[in-house]
């Protein structure tokens, strides 16, 4: 290793410093791009899980919930939603993905999520 270090001095660099150097590229990103990314992530988070504390569900969340309910009925049955969630909670991708993954598999669930989020 010593011989290798002599010829390749960059191997001896501090890993934290190296990671910092790599991240410099991200700092150069324009603020508008970051804002757009943040907006998209927030939109996705709202669709992924709807907690009762964040106020009334949006139209998109309601559509996702309706689609998921339909998938739940088709795949499992009409009673399964009552078994899985509390009465007040609206069904969301976060609450339904584990059971879909367990019984249909990861790949089928990915496909199902894609269809649920279609056109939204």
């Amino acid at each position: 290793m010593k011989l290798l270090e002599r010829w390749k001095p960059q191997f001896r660099r501090d890993p934290v410093q190296a990671a910092h150097d790599r991240n410099r590229g991200f700092e150069a990103a324009p603020a508008a791009g970051l804002h757009d990314l943040q907006t998209r992530l927030n939109h996705w988070s709202h669709l992924w899980s709807h907690d009762g504390q964040s106020g009334m569900p949006t139209e998109a969340q309601e559509i996702v919930a309706k689609r998921l309910s339909r998938w739940m009925d088709q795949c499992f049955g009409q009673h399964v939603q009552g078994t899985l969630r509390c009465k007040d909670d609206q069904i969301s991708l976060a609450s339904s993905t584990p059971i879909f993954t367990a019984f249909l598999g990861r790949r089928a669930t990915r496909e199902l999520s894609r269809r649920v989020l279609q056109d939204i």
Binding site: I63, K66, R67, R70, W71, M72, D73, Q74, C75, F76, G77, Q78, H79, V80, T83, L84, P98, I99, T101, A102, F103, L104, G105, R106, R107, A108, T109, E111, L112, R115, V116, Q118, D119, I120
Partner: protein
């Protein structure tokens, strides 16, 4: 009803129609000729088609789960159970000379006193071995269902049924254990495990049934419901054999009970077909979504 499941039950209906002609012939003439031909030829063919179909479908279902997903093992075990039933059917067909390739099967007779005949080996593979695989697979499924709180508490009827199943199993073991003194073959002893394994499957079936009731009428619920139905029919078939052996049934009723096994085979094959239908639904473009924007 899903296309594959519909085909399975249409095939069963056609097969039973032919079977009823053979049974009618038996009722009129009192001769077993046509009935023997039906069960030996068409019956064996039906079992081979159903178990082979079940095996292929279960393997496809298994392939939809990644190696770290618990359902992969469950479907793998169910596929092994189907394969064991297929091998058992073929071994019995070869031994009984129902397959059209002459008498060379006599060369395959097992030696060493482990199994009395190739037919007994077929019974062991298609019976206790297959049941053991299925029990492991359903056990895995029950674990997953429990994780999602899908299994509700047992009713009084369930508990009574469980008690009867365990009592029957213990009584059968109590009858068989003294026979160990006669030095039975390994095959005979393994066949004694049929009742305990069937009891275990019935217990699992009762628990799976509770989860199916909690789910509703969806495709996944129907898949596991079909396993419950198949196990119940198998138990009914087993009970009819016991009743016939104790001369509790007339000759006509005994012949009628032989048809039970076709229903069990169709129910076993329908289970993975329903699972596949649920998976296929996620890839189906025609599924109309409500309120698309």
């Amino acid at each position: 009803m899903h296309r594959l499941v519909r085909w399975i039950w249409i095939l069963l209906a056609l097969h039973l129609t032919l079977g009823m002609i053979a049974y009618g012939h038996f009722l009129v003439t009192g001769q077993y000729t046509l009935l023997g031909w039906y069960f030996g030829g068409l019956g064996t063919l039906f079992f081979v088609v159903m178990t082979a179909g079940e095996f292929c479908l279960a393997i496809i279902c298994r392939s939809w789960f990644d190696s770290d997903e618990p359902m992969r093992l469950a479907w793998g075990m169910i596929a092994c159970a189907a394969l064991a039933r297929l091998v058992g059917t073929l071994l019995r067909a070869i031994s009984d000379g129902h397959l059209p390739w002459g008498d060379w099967h006599r060369l395959l007779q097992p030696s060493g006193g482990l199994f009395v005949s190739l037919s007994q080996l077929g019974l062991v593979v298609g019976g206790p071995v297959s049941m053991a695989f299925l029990a492991v697979g359903l056990g895995r499924v029950l674990g997953i269902q429990r994780r999602f709180h899908l299994i509700s508490s047992l009713t009084r009827g369930d508990k009574t049924l469980l008690f009867l199943v365990v009592a029957f199993s213990i009584s059968q073991l109590a009858i068989n254990l003294p026979l160990l003194g006669n030095h039975p073959s390994l095959g005979t002893m393994l066949l004694w495990l049929s009742d305990p394994f069937l009891s275990l499957l019935l217990i699992e079936a009762i628990l799976v049934r509770r989860s199916v009731i909690r789910m509703g009428q969806g495709l996944v619920a129907k898949c596991w419901g079909m396993f419950v139905l198949a196990i119940l029919i198998t138990s009914a078939g087993d009970a009819s054999i016991w009743a016939a052996n104790h001369s509790l049934l007339s000759e006509r009723v005994t012949a009628l009970t032989w048809y039970i096994w076709f229903f069990a085979a169709a129910a076993f094959a329908s289970a993975p077909a329903y699972q596949l239908a649920a998976i296929a639904l996620t890839r189906h473009d025609a599924m109309h979504l409500p309120e698309t924007r």
